[in-house]
């Protein structure tokens, strides 16, 4: 067991993948000698050489489009978009090619590649550095969308992403990069499409993913002192979506709050709430609630606390779940 940050766990996953498979290449902006602006690729160029981990021209569409060609021709590229909003120039490549190549070619061409994107806020970043962009990817058929909430999951899910036969958008919650936990590597925490119950409870289910998971757990701890026993489900992968685990939890508890940092309108939290409504209607004691970011452009650092879901807002939502009928 070692005490590791999520950034260190991701670094270890990249290093172990480079060692395990000579087809793996890591590239992007500042990922070489600098080791990435978050030091996630620290030491990889020194250890594995410039051919395996290298810097490119500053052009995100170029990075992703080149990775498409590499994946078509036998490599397993793992590219980094430096920040969430910096990935938008690559969106055409992602939506038109990365997501569709297998389908366009009836399976003749597959794209085993990973697009790593540090995402979401809570780090005091200035504009264009804190977007929660998961809905764009989750809305695009053909993409697998992964977002870890623990260091062990970050390691395990990234190794699986690199070994996966299809393209994976790997969303790394920036504000969890420095969160430490005891991890034994190489960790394997379960396949894509399986959510994890992080806390068992019987009164209501909090469904969360990525940066919202610690918020949900904090809320659940606080709720316990008020007499509510809350279950916390961490999705781990947004696509594939684990209806089974979410449904089973809500059928058991009869109440659900979805917690997500992204703005709520037309977002992943809305999809989750709708799915719970469709599947658990007769078991529900109260309407499914969402606690999300506000429907505003990501605020400046000194105002971001207004936007971010916190345990208090989650508890407020839990309090509205018609307990008087219980």
């Amino acid at each position: 067991m070692a005490s590791l940050t999520m950034a260190q766990a991701i670094n270890a996953a990249l290093a172990d993948a480079l060692a395990a498979d000579e087809r793996v290449v890591v590239f992007g902006e500042d990922v070489g000698p600098l080791g990435g602006v978050f030091r996630v690729t620290d030491g990889l160029t020194a250890k594995y050489g410039e051919d395996r981990c290298f810097d490119t021209p500053l052009a995100e569409s170029g990075i992703v489009g080149t990775a498409v060609g590499m994946a078509m021709n036998g490599l397993r590229p793992v590219v980094e978009m430096q920040f969430d909003a910096f990935a938008y120039p690559a969106f055409e490549q992602i939506a038109s090619h990365v997501a569709k190549m297998r389908n366009r070619t009836r399976g003749a061409i597959t794209l085993p590649m990973v697009i790593r994107i540090p995402y979401a806020g809570g780090i005091g970043g200035v504009e264009h550095h804190c977007d929660s962009s998961e809905a764009y990817y989750a809305h695009t058929p053909g993409l697998t969308v992964v977002t870890p909430a623990t260091a062990a999951d970050a390691y395990s899910l990234l190794r699986e992403a690199i070994e996966f036969p299809d393209p994976v958008v790997f969303l790394e919650p920036k504000r969890l990069y420095w969160a430490k936990e005891e991890v034994e590597l190489p960790a394997r925490t379960g396949p894509f499409g399986r959510a994890a119950v992080r806390r068992e409870g019987s009164d209501a289910t909090l469904v969360a993913y990525g940066p919202a998971v610690p918020v949900a757990l904090e809320a659940a701890e606080a709720a316990a002192t008020e007499g509510w026993d809350l279950e916390v489900v961490d999705l781990r992968t947004i696509v594939p979506f684990d209806d089974e685990t979410v449904t089973a939890s809500v059928m058991k508890t009869g109440r659900a709050v979805v917690v997500a940092e992204a703005q709520g309108f037309a977002g992943v939290a809305s999809e989750i709430a709708a799915r719970i409504g469709e599947r658990c209607f007769h078991a529900l004691e109260a309407p499914v609630r969402r606690v999300t970011g506000l429907d505003i452009p990501y605020p400046p650092p000194k105002l971001e606390h207004h936007h971010l879901p916190n345990a208090g807002r989650v508890l407020d939502a839990v309090a509205t779940l018609q307990w008087e009928t219980a």
Binding site: T56, P57, G65, T66, V68, R102, R104, G142, F241, D243
Partner: protein, 362 residues
């Protein structure tokens, strides 16, 4: 006087030409040091031009009969399409656009599979891996980056593969064109960027795409050589692309080739070219027909016999007849296949939707 840095990368003032309008050898200065391809190469090009033209005409007829959803014709551009393909080895890769059906037929891909996209049966009808030919690409210039990546991977394995990306004049305005040229140059990967400047992006003329002296001039900004070639002279296209490919194969890096040509037909059957260009302009380009030009040249040199002309004409008719017969008989895949290739293994949600669709059909 100190030479301007990069001056050696600039294209010649006039496009490279080997065969003149009436089939005569072009003046030596126009060849810019490019040798005339061997007679057997020109005869192979003749065959591909005639077959390619017949295929294109047949596809145009099929769209008028409602048997294709849409067809962007390459009529007038056959020399560029054929020359670029025949200048490469079978082991090299191509990245075509939707207008490059004649290039795909020249590559040896079944014409029915070439037209799957335009018939509406599926997106890509052929196996790109088997033919080393990317799917016909619609989003402009995006495939140029795929060419860079394929070339990078090939070189990383020590292969001497060259990759050719087809582009049009409109695509040179896209960001991915710039990013692909820049990546290819920085990493010195073996790619030939082959721009068919057919003068129009649907209706918008070249003057609205660029203020550059030529599209080939754009190369110098990336540290890449730019070459202009007469795209209606298949001999010149073979020579120029051949030289660029060998340069790339030898580790010399990418080249940008601009082939000057003209789209005789409208953008597609759904377009009305009369709204943006004159009949006189089209007539002037019909007068520079690429098939007629090579035919005249081979007649002059005596390399083309009446028997060869008849044999190639017969082959072209066979290709057209085969297409007329087999294309209307194609059927799209069953609806279940809509879910089969989204992922290696369908998600539970896709399995549910597939089951619902099956239930609807019963």
């Amino acid at each position: 006087m100190v030479a301007t840095p990069g001056a050696e990368l600039l294209p010649t003032a006039k496009p490279v030409r080997l065969i003149g309008k009436n089939g005569e050898r072009a003046p030596k200065a126009r060849a810019a040091g490019h040798p005339m391809p061997a007679p057997e190469e020109l005869l192979a090009a003749y065959r591909a031009l005639v077959v390619g033209r017949r295929f294109d005409r047949q596809a145009t007829s099929l769209v008028k009969q409602g048997r294709l959803a849409v067809y962007p014709s390459a009529h007038g551009q056959e020399a560029a399409e054929v020359g670029a393909v025949l200048a490469l080895r079978r082991t090299d890769w191509l990245f075509p656009t939707y207008r490059d059906s004649v290039a795909l037929v020249t590559r040896g891909i079944d014409p029915v599979e070439v037209l799957t996209l335009l018939r509406g049966d599926w997106h890509c009808g052929y196996d790109p891996a088997a033919h080393r030919t990317g799917p016909q690409c619609t989003p402009l210039a995006t495939q140029a980056l795929h060419a860079v990546g394929v070339a990078y991977a090939a070189r990383a394995r020590g292969e001497d593969t060259v990759v050719l990306a087809f582009l049009g004049d409109g695509a040179t305005s896209e960001g991915d064109f710039h990013e692909a040229l820049n990546f290819a140059a920085v990493f010195q990967v073996p790619v030939v960027f082959f721009v068919q400047n057919n003068r129009y992006a649907i209706s918008v003329p070249l003057a609205r795409q660029t203020a550059a002296p030529s599209l080939a001039h754009k190369a110098v900004g990336y540290g890449v050589p730019g070459v202009q070639v007469d795209g209606n002279d298949v001999a010149a296209v073979l020579a120029v692309v051949g030289r660029a490919a060998e340069r790339a194969r030898a580790g010399g890096g990418p080249t940008l080739v601009e082939a000057h040509t003209y789209r005789i037909e409208a953008h597609t059957n759904a377009d009305d070219a009369g709204r943006y260009r004159s009949d006189d302009e089209v007539a002037a380009w019909l007068d520079r027909d690429p098939v007629d030009r090579l035919t005249a040249h081979l007649r002059r040199t005596g390399a083309l016999t009446d028997e060869a002309v008849a044999a190639v004409a017969e082959e072209a008719e066979r290709v057209a007849a085969d297409l007329r017969e087999r294309l209307p008989a194609t059927t799209p895949p069953a609806a279940d296949e809509l879910f089969a290739h989204v992922y290696a293994a369908p998600t539970p949600q896709l399995r549910e939707q597939a089951a619902r669709l099956r239930a609807e059909e019963h």
